[in-house]
């Protein structure tokens, strides 16, 4: 009888097959401004937060792109634009060959099957009044991916896939620890067999030992299911561990994008250099021996970002051109290594244009 029912339900249609290594997603000149309104009745727009400002990149099937940067650099906003949680101010998102940036909610439905998000806070992203089974089966029911028995079976599979036991299906989120909750979030994201998973700081809220467990889980799932990841984190160690390529963001822009190992061995942008040198190393001798670059000041407000290169007020190598002219993202050094800087570092040390550089007295 159940078999009959199943036959009546629409089957999940597969999206176009995209082989590993081909472009799965392309972001083109993505801009997202948030208006700042003021006034009681008329709500005039008095300014704009330049959250994401002209970002372009490509993502190939099967790879992991790491997005790093400090709070407020726009990495989460970019992710939400890609998942179309936010509408873009301008630019386009091409996913599986289709420009989804103008899609309506209805048009987005099939896209959402292929593109899922895992959020940072597993306490906030799971409904506390629903049982785990209902949380994970929600996407399956919304997309009518089978009858009740099939859905139940799939939920049990998913729980085991993420390392939970299928007996836990009737529990509530509060009965789980932080790491287990994040596993539930992962199971929900994988329910519809997506191609692309955007993980927005998936391990930042977790303790070190649990963090390693979840990272290993995401790694295994990628191998098993051939997933493509966009992995957002502010922990540079974690990003290096999971990523094939890494994009560094600063104040709404990608300042450097490169294959992972290359970025850590030969950073080209002074911001990347400073960011890497600020990460504490769990080795006292190394920690004492290495030269740390401490950036002065805070990240400027994205409401009125600095002219020219947005990093220039904090950059040790900044010169006149940096104040006036915005550097473009261009190829530096090896294949696929791009940076937006007027004085790119060579060999990860001195800027290529060092002669013209006046060191700031702040050093």
């Amino acid at each position: 009888m159940t078999d009959n029912l199943a036959a009546d339900l629409p089957v999940l249609e597969e999206g176009p097959e995209i082989a590993a290594g081909e472009v799965l997603l392309r972001a083109e000149h993505v801009i997202k401004y948030f208006p700042i309104r003021s006034g009681v009745l008329l709500q005039r727009e008095v300014g704009r937060v330049h959250a994401v400002d002209d970002v372009s990149f490509e993502l190939r099937a099967g790879e992991t792109l790491g997005l790093v940067g400090e709070s407020g650099c726009g990495k989460s906003t970019l992710a939400r634009c890609i998942a179309r949680i936010y509408d873009l101010t301008s630019g386009s998102i091409v996913f599986e060959g289709k420009d989804i940036s103008g899609y309506s909610r209805r048009q987005l439905r099939p896209v959402r099957r292929e593109l899922q998000v895992v959020f940072q806070d597993p306490y906030a992203s799971l409904n506390p009044r629903k049982r785990v089974g209902a949380i994970i089966s929600d996407p399956l029911r919304i997309h009518r991916a089978g009858n009740q028995d099939q859905i139940k079976k799939r939920v049990q599979e998913l729980l085991e896939l993420v390392g939970l036991s299928s007996e836990q299906i009737n529990r509530y989120p509060h009965e789980f620890s932080g790491g287990q909750r994040q596993r539930i979030g992962v199971a929900r994201a994988l329910a519809l067999k997506p191609k692309l998973v955007i993980a927005d700081e998936p391990v930042s809220a977790l303790d070190v030992s649990i963090r390693a467990q979840v990272i290993n889980l995401l790694d295994d799932l990628q191998d098993e299911l051939g997933l493509t990841y966009i992995f957002i984190a502010h922990d540079l160690g974690v990003v290096r561990h999971v990523s094939d390529r890494i994009a560094v963001m600063y104040l709404g822009k990608i300042v450097e994008i490169s294959p992972a190992e290359e970025l850590y061995e030969r950073p080209v942008h002074p911001y990347t250099e400073a960011l890497l040198s600020a990460v504490p190393v769990p080795d006292p001798d190394l920690s004492a021996a290495r030269k740390q670059i401490v950036l002065e000041g805070d990240v400027p407000s994205p409401i009125s970002p600095p002219s020219g290169c947005r990093f220039h007020p904090r950059c040790r190598y900044a010169t006149e051109i940096c104040r006036t002219e915005e550097p473009l993202l261009q190829l530096r050094g090896s294949v696929g290594h791009m940076a937006a800087c007027h004085h790119p570092l060579s060999n990860g040390a001195t800027p290529a244009a060092a002669e013209s550089v006046v060191p700031s007295p702040a050093d």
């Binding site: 467990q213 190992e261 600020a278 990460v279 190393v281 990240v299």
Partner: protein, 342 residues
């Protein structure tokens, strides 16, 4: 040996709850000497914050019960009346917390909050207190301190707020600064600024620091001695070099192995610790780490005491012999590097 500035002796903290007794801190002993930095490392629920909050007598929960002694310059803080504790807080021992926004009062100007603290402990005029506040804000690296002294906390960024907290904490020249995850809420570049500031204050004023953190990288940068806590107990304690270059306890190995490090080749997998920390309401008999430990054997059914097993002041709570530890350590911390060796 010199007399320690702060001497915690067998501190136990329990909370009575509807579901049973929570053993948050279960027999912690530690010392802090003048001018040194003690790092306390552990994950959420390991008891590191409760230990130091108890030292400051900041836990007012009526269901909390304290045992043991905390000697500060010979005075037992646990036995002092609240009024006397207040005179020590801020002037003798002060504390900064993870989230500066919740520790600053949002409706008062930051200058006023620093002045209040100074005037509480010293007989000093309003003008003099204000001048001190401006000096302090300058010392912690707040640009334009003369104007910023009249700003409210929300007008500062996270890093700047933490600087204000530090200015307030050191305003009365305390002997001990307890920093509870002072940089956890901050970005790495700002974290580097704040850690450098703490180093500078430590050098300028000789303040002893207790640094509570979950980040092994931060203690590698800052601490002279380190205590590793797990499930309310110290499982290993030693100098910074001991902990990083000769770690003895399998939990410390697990912590070191779990980090995705920038200074090592990228392993295929991280050496994660399996399982979860035990519930503090139902601590297992024997070693609390036993359930998650790959090296567990019969002896572990009894709780291992924290002892100086190497005879050099490096304490650990693990029954494995020195030879066994030596043989198993590297395999646990970075299995892949060991495999590749011929």
């Amino acid at each position: 040996m010199a007399v320690p500035l702060l001497d915690i002796r067998d501190l136990k903290v329990t909370f009575r709850t509807d579901d049973g007794l929570v053993r948050a801190v279960d027999g912690v002993s530690a010392t802090l000497y003048e001018g040194e930095t003690l790092g306390i490392v552990g994950e959420s629920g390991s008891g590191k914050s409760v230990t130091m909050m108890s030292v400051m007598r900041l836990i007012t929960d009526p269901n909390a019960k304290f045992e043991g002694q905390v000697l500060y310059k010979g005075l037992d803080l646990m036995a002092l009346p609240q009024a006397e504790i207040r005179s020590i807080r801020g002037a003798g021992i002060s504390m900064i917390f993870q989230d500066p926004m919740t520790s600053l009062n949002p409706v008062y100007k930051v200058g006023w909050q620093i002045e209040e603290q100074i005037r509480e402990h010293e007989k000093i005029s309003k003008q003099a207190a204000r001048a001190r506040a401006i000096d302090l804000l300058t010392a912690v690296g707040i640009p334009n301190a003369r104007e910023r002294v009249d700003a409210y906390p929300h007008e500062f960024s996270g890093g700047m707020r933490q600087r204000v907290m530090i200015a307030m904490a050191v305003s009365c020249n305390p002997d001990v600064l307890i920093a509870d995850e002072p940089t956890t809420a901050l970005d790495v570049t700002i974290q580097a600024q704040i850690l450098n500031l703490i180093k500078k204050l430590r050098a300028d004023f000789g303040t002893a620091v207790v640094l509570i953190t979950h980040d092994m990288g931060v203690v590698a940068d800052m601490a002279d001695r380190i205590a590793v806590m797990y499930a309310g107990r110290i499982v290993e304690q030693g100098t910074q070099r001991d902990l990083f270059y000769d770690p003895q306890h399998p939990y410390t190995w697990g912590l070191l192995g779990s980090i995705a490090r920038l200074d090592r080749p990228r392993p295929r997998r991280l050496a994660a610790i399996p399982g979860l920390p035990p519930s503090l309401m139902r601590l297992p008999e024997g070693c609390a780490f036993g359930e998650r430990c790959a090296h567990r054997f019969e002896a572990c059914a009894q709780q291992p005491p924290l002892l100086d097993r190497l005879g050099n002041g490096h304490l650990d709570a693990c029954y494995l012999t020195e030879v066994q530890k030596h043989a198993r350590r590297d395999r646990t911390i970075h299995p892949e590097l060991v495999e590749e060796k011929p």
